[in-house]
Assembly symmetry: C2
Homo-oligomer: 408 residues x 2
């Protein structure tokens, strides 16, 4: 099935190459297609690494080995396979990942645990070792490529290439960040979503890099959802080559630590939003702001209950400001809420306040807002200071068609 | 929008009238339609009542008042309004419910708290008091009707009338049970689903009736889901008129207590399954059996994670035995699970065992099973003795059309 580009797609941004990062792609032909499906990033010696991974109890071998590799803190290479997630494939799947790690570590002369592998695609089919070996060999010989080529090569049901960059001043040194991501279905929070990779030339200790990533993740990837379905392979990693020559960031007290963390969070937020914009069948991008909650975490869970409600998502698809369905979703969230303090707005216009419909509610501007592509929902629980913002898309016939109208 | 009858519909069963119950319906015209939308059940003096209600934090006044009424244990009347849920309507909504209770208690000469009211339909519009008053007055004058008329009158987006009956021997006395239910969307567990009413001529103490209902609810209504969206109005009540003349059931030690509880659970299970069979857009009825879980409750939560996964539900709609999506749903459930002990079967045929695909897996009989209307999924977690069965339906274009293609 040929998928049309999402109507919410954004153009791929101009991003500078990162010193210490070389990208190459190759055709491993994991599926019967003629496109690059193996991405290889070679990283300078001494590159720091951090990662957040799916919390699924059925995580893939790639995730298990990646989680172990992040603990030692250094990376020399990243290999991403598209078309086969290699999840739920037992020892045969694990052998395939280890074979790729061996092949790359031999070629680069680095310890095996500094090679990171990700795979995305169908669950339950062992990654074919021969195709992987051929793909890695081809990638090692290939000409370097740019970000957009790599972003395309890691995609599966994605309909457009997704990237985001930023820069930050660390002391007197300007450092660059560039990230790419894939994902459009099986997207849910409580994890590091899908496959996302961020590269920077900043010099950063692995422990701080991990802390900054986890902090950014909590407010970005953990706040997006397409369908509430958490993947077995979700991975976001950051690689810091140190080539910018800044004074090494060791902790939050180091010069530039806050600036770098802010830039990292910006890249994470933009990448996460791009995944929502490529949500399967998405026609509208929905921002849900929850305030007045008992805590930030409670606000996030209320926001996700709204964002994951099929009735709310279909109402938005139908351009219907059906705030009653938002009430329903708040009610079922299992978080502190008081019906008689709850207020709801669409596009900045309050439709219900303190548990009752607004008396002189003018539907016309709300209806006009609902006709747009960018929908804002605000919910004030009226209880405390907790707040969160969550991003999702609508639920349309497109989602059913992509996931139900054909055999995968 | 005119909805076609669900392809999974069952014919309305023959059920005897229950001694001590008189049903009447009337046209309150809560919406611009020409159909009975107010149902009135008059109950004999001394009728015991039990109820389970939504756990939504945004429950309607009907639910609040019903919960309070159940505590005193007696019922003389039930009024059900269809077309307006009266939820999230503040003091004006509450006044409308109290007005109905006053009107009925004056007509029957009974305490107000023995009158129970339920409403179902759009959220956020106060129930119009004048229409309710007219409807109740008409119902008080109307000729008695049968179960199917009442089952039709409580429905909203339902496409067929739903009822289930049973009988049990209590000592030497045969007692009858008859139940009706409505619901097809905004159906999720962790509650007593939708509006369901069960009547029996058995003589039963309210405290035991409540305990038997809660026990049945945990294995029936709490194990069904259509879309994971919990309503603000969900209610299931049981009324026992005592007219059968059996020795009153006071506790689990009373003669016939187990037989009555089994009959009640059977009615609850059948009513719950009928709601799934009328799931919005449903084309297939899905039974998910989870075994080998750490506990029964854990098994239920794993089952519901599978049943609520849009990717699993669309795969079934597409007649695709995509067991990888079942793995995903198990992984995200947040319950104890071990990837390498997990086994999955469709239609009784194991497709994956102990974390790997079955080697000589023959897809043909599985594909044939998926083409049917009744789909069986079995999941063995391989950990313990916990088990549960959960029922749901597939996710089709019909659900999107019903909930998204028009303004409600």
């Amino acid at each position: 099935m040929e998928l049309e580009t999402s109507p919410l797609a954004l153009p791929f941004p101009d991003m500078p190459m990162i010193d210490g990062v070389t990208l190459r792609v190759a055709r491993a032909r994991y599926k019967n297609w003629d496109r690059a499906d193996l991405t290889f990033a070679e990283l300078a010696e001494g590159t720091s690494v951090a990662g957040v991974f799916t919390k699924s109890a059925c995580a893939s071998s790639e995730v298990e080995l990646g989680r172990a590799g992040v603990k030692q803190g250094c990376a020399r290479a990243l290999v991403v396979n598209a078309g086969n997630s290699n999840a739920f494939t037992g020892y045969r799947g694990r052998e395939a990942v280890e074979a790729i790690m061996d092949q790359v570590s031999a070629a680069l002369g680095c310890p095996r645990e500094e090679v990171f592998v990700s795979s995305t695609g169908v669950i339950g089919v062992p990654l074919p070792k021969d195709k992987a070996r051929g793909g890695v060999a081809a990638a090692l010989e290939a000409e370097p490529c740019g970000w957009e080529d790599a972003a395309n090569a890691i995609g599966t049901t994605d309909t457009f290439a997704k990237g985001a960059g930023a820069s930050a001043m660390v002391g007197d040194t300007r450092v660059e960040l560039a990230g790419i991501i894939k994902g459009s279905g099986m997207i849910a929070p409580d994890m590091a979503t899908m496959l996302g990779y961020i590269f920077t030339d900043a010099d950063i200790a692995p422990a701080f890099l991990q802390e900054a990533l986890e902090r950014a993740n909590a407010q970005t990837f953990s706040c997006i959802t397409v369908d509430g379905d958490t993947s077995t392979s979700d991975t976001v990693m950051v690689f810091a080559t140190g080539k910018a020559g800044n004074t090494r960031i060791e902790s939050w007290d180091s010069p530039g630590a806050d600036a770098f963390a802010a830039a990292l969070a910006e890249v994470c937020r933009n990448l996460g939003q791009l995944v929502v914009r490529d949500g399967e069948g998405a026609q509208k991008f929905i921002t849900i702001r929850v305030l007045g909650a008992a805590s930030d975490d409670s606000a996030r869970r209320v926001g996700l209950a709204i964002a994951n409600s099929p009735l709310v998502k279909t109402a938005i698809a139908g351009e219907d400001a059906n705030w009653g369905r938002v009430v329903m979703a708040v009610g079922k969230a299992g978080e502190p809420a008081d019906r008689d303090k709850l207020s709801i707005a669409f596009g900045g216009i309050w439709t219900a306040r303190n548990g009752v419909p607004v008396e002189d509610y003018n539907e016309a501007p709300v209806a006009a807002h609902l006709k747009g592509e960018e929908i804002d929902i605000a919910v004030d629980l009226g209880l405390g200071e907790g707040r969160a913002t969550v991003w999702t898309c609508d639920l349309t016939h497109g989602y059913i068609a992509i996931n139900g109208d054909y055999r995968s």
